[in-house]
Symmetry: C2
Subunit: 214 residues, 2 copies
């Protein structure tokens, strides 16, 4: 069975999204600052169909993060911030456009049932209403021997961390303050469930801290 | 003029002290876990009059942290947790014993006036009631060309960070969760006042992140 891997960018003050998240501003005020190091990378841009960009110490980290993934689990907010039940007249397809960068099955944890969504490039979105553990079980089955990515957001990540389900956690620590917003480590107690710091990579504008369950 | 340098250990979830700090438990529940990497170091033990210990990647960091210091500023809680005015009958000498490890003038920010305290090994404690800026001014004068250490605790550190007074900040990030307690970056907004990440050192049980104002 593959591993459940969480990769998430976090500010110096512990936020993974800024304040006042909305459909218009999904990362919240200042939240984009957490991802500038990634957007600048050649490897990241290539995976999203763009050319150009930098090669630096983050390159192998991001390549590893996207390698050997067979499925992704994400929360409703990460799929797309539309509140309430899905509208049948105007079905929201999330942030990800018509050719999302996953290229594998994605399982979205939501309270609202919806038919699966098949998009270009091998990405399917399946909507799971039975909770994050059920979504994870479906994702593991879809992934086979490969790993499952825990895409976020914070709420789904916290749920998996608290339940001790995360096998690998790559925190990309960005040396900025967001001041407020959504904290990754909020109300999850003191137990890392065996996750230990196994690698630190200092890169331009970011420090990558890799945790693994031994 | 020397630089104002903050060195502080911080948990993965952003706490510099655990919950329920008291005279008996000055670091709060679990707070000691933030300092185990330091207590294990030969360099740290030597500075505190102890023998033995490890030499590892933290050694040059801790040696640098204690070098070229001419004075220290700290808050009342860091000096010693006794609440209320100083008792004349039983004057509390803080946590630091009769031969504190500073060996230079220390300025304690407090609301309660008290006569200076001269201890063995060149450490004097001067109690400043006119606020942290006044304490800092006295410390700078005492330090001459040398630097001033900002000893903490969190409240004093936040005050100096918010005022843009900190020139160097070494965060020793310990990969544990404290769950609750006192956060360093709480209510200080989004401005690092020009502090930029300039060095990352991965060491056993800790990652040192050095920020400097360029």
């Amino acid at each position: 069975m593959g591993r459940l891997r969480l990769r998430i960018a976090i500010s110096l003050d512990g936020f993974v999204a800024g304040p006042r998240q909305s459909v218009q501003d999904p990362l919240g005020v200042g939240g984009m600052r957490l991802h500038e190091w990634a957007f600048a990378l050649e490897a990241f841009r290539r995976m999203h169909g763009l050319s150009g960009g930098e090669v630096n110490a983050s390159t192998p980290v991001i390549e590893e993060a996207f390698a050997n993934l067979g499925a992704t689990v994400m929360g409703r907010h990460m799929f797309g911030g539309q509140p309430g039940p899905w509208s049948l007249e105007k079905p929201w397809n999330g942030w990800w456009g018509n050719d999302p960068p996953f290229h594998h099955p994605v399982f979205v944890v939501t309270h609202h049932p919806r038919e699966p969504l098949t998009l270009a490039g091998g990405t399917t979105f399946t909507f799971v209403t039975a909770g994050v553990e059920a979504a994870l079980e479906q994702a593991r089955r879809a992934a086979g021997d490969k790993d499952v990515a825990l895409g976020g957001g914070a709420q789904t990540a916290r749920r998996c961390l608290t339940a001790g389900l995360v096998d690998d956690m790559e925190l990309s620590l960005v040396p900025v303050l967001l001041g407020s917003g959504e904290r990754l480590f909020e109300g999850i107690g003191t137990d890392l469930h065996g996750l230990e710091l196994t690698r630190t990579v200092a890169a331009p504008r970011v420090t990558h801290l890799k945790f693994a369950r031994r």
